[in-house]
């Protein structure tokens, strides 16, 4: 990964995160976090982890943030949209432009032959072998943790006093 591409993604990530944690509107904060996670996914791709980058997009940006948005919109109905001013699009536009510029830099500035972080690339098949052959006990532990989380989320989300629910 060329340092120029890395720093474009790094600055985009930090700007999106700073915008994210200072928002009052929860939906805006989650969408800025989406921009930051996409930029981090590009950095992960540059560090020789293509499968991890895909998982970052699918699991973090796809599943977890959609869950956040779902809960926000369940709890607090979104106010009717007001006429949009151009200035309101400045932040999201800058984040999108940063990600796009980083991608262009990533493609154009191909890494040279020097030793560095770039010449390491872990193929997904080897990652799967390491995950399910060597670290299988961690996989089992995490799957049990996910089961506990499902039961806990169901228990916390039940309605009080529902006669059909066991107490």
């Amino acid at each position: 990964m060329h340092p120029v591409a890395f720093w474009i993604f790094a600055v985009t990530t930090l700007a999106a995160l700073l915008l994210c944690v200072t928002r009052q509107n929860a939906v805006h904060a989650v969408l800025y976090l989406l921009g930051a996670l996409l930029a981090v996914a590009a950095i992960l791709f540059g560090l020789g982890a293509p499968l991890i980058a895909a998982w970052q997009v699918l699991v973090y940006a796809g599943a977890i943030l959609v869950l956040f948005l779902f809960v926000i919109m369940t709890l607090a109905p979104v106010a009717p949209s007001q006429p949009r001013r151009m200035r309101a699009l400045l932040g999201p536009g800058a984040i999108g432009a940063g990600i796009l510029a980083g991608m262009v830099a990533l493609v154009l500035l191909e890494p040279s032959d020097e030793r560095g972080l770039t010449d390491y690339l872990l193929p997904p098949a080897e990652l799967g072998r390491a995950l399910f052959a060597d670290a299988w006990i961690g996989v089992e532990a995490v799957s049990f943790l996910l089961l506990i989380a499902v039961v806990g989320a169901y228990w916390l989300g039940r309605r009080e006093g529902d006669p059909e629910e066991p107490r």
Binding site: C20, I43, G48, I52, L117
Partner: protein, 101 residues
Amino acid sequence: MSVPLEHVLLLSVAIFAIGLACALFRRKFLFILLGVEIMLNAAGLALVAGSAVWRNPEGQVFWMLLAAIAAAEVAVGLSLLIHLHRRRHSGDVDELRSLRG
């Protein structure tokens, strides 16, 4: 030319610091969850960078476990948020002073 490990770790520390500040200084429960997500992501970036430096898949394996842990944490956290809204009709953690079940 390539990115040195120190720069990736620097970015990771900066992301972690932003997430920590978000989790500590925001009083809305949703932003605390977002801060925890940001911190987990910073840790994952450092893991993948270490995996690239030492040419070892274990960093990426740990990233996978970390993602599953983050998913479990966010599921329980968001159901706690729904519970908080049903009980107190607000998303402010200062309402949660009497956690007696």
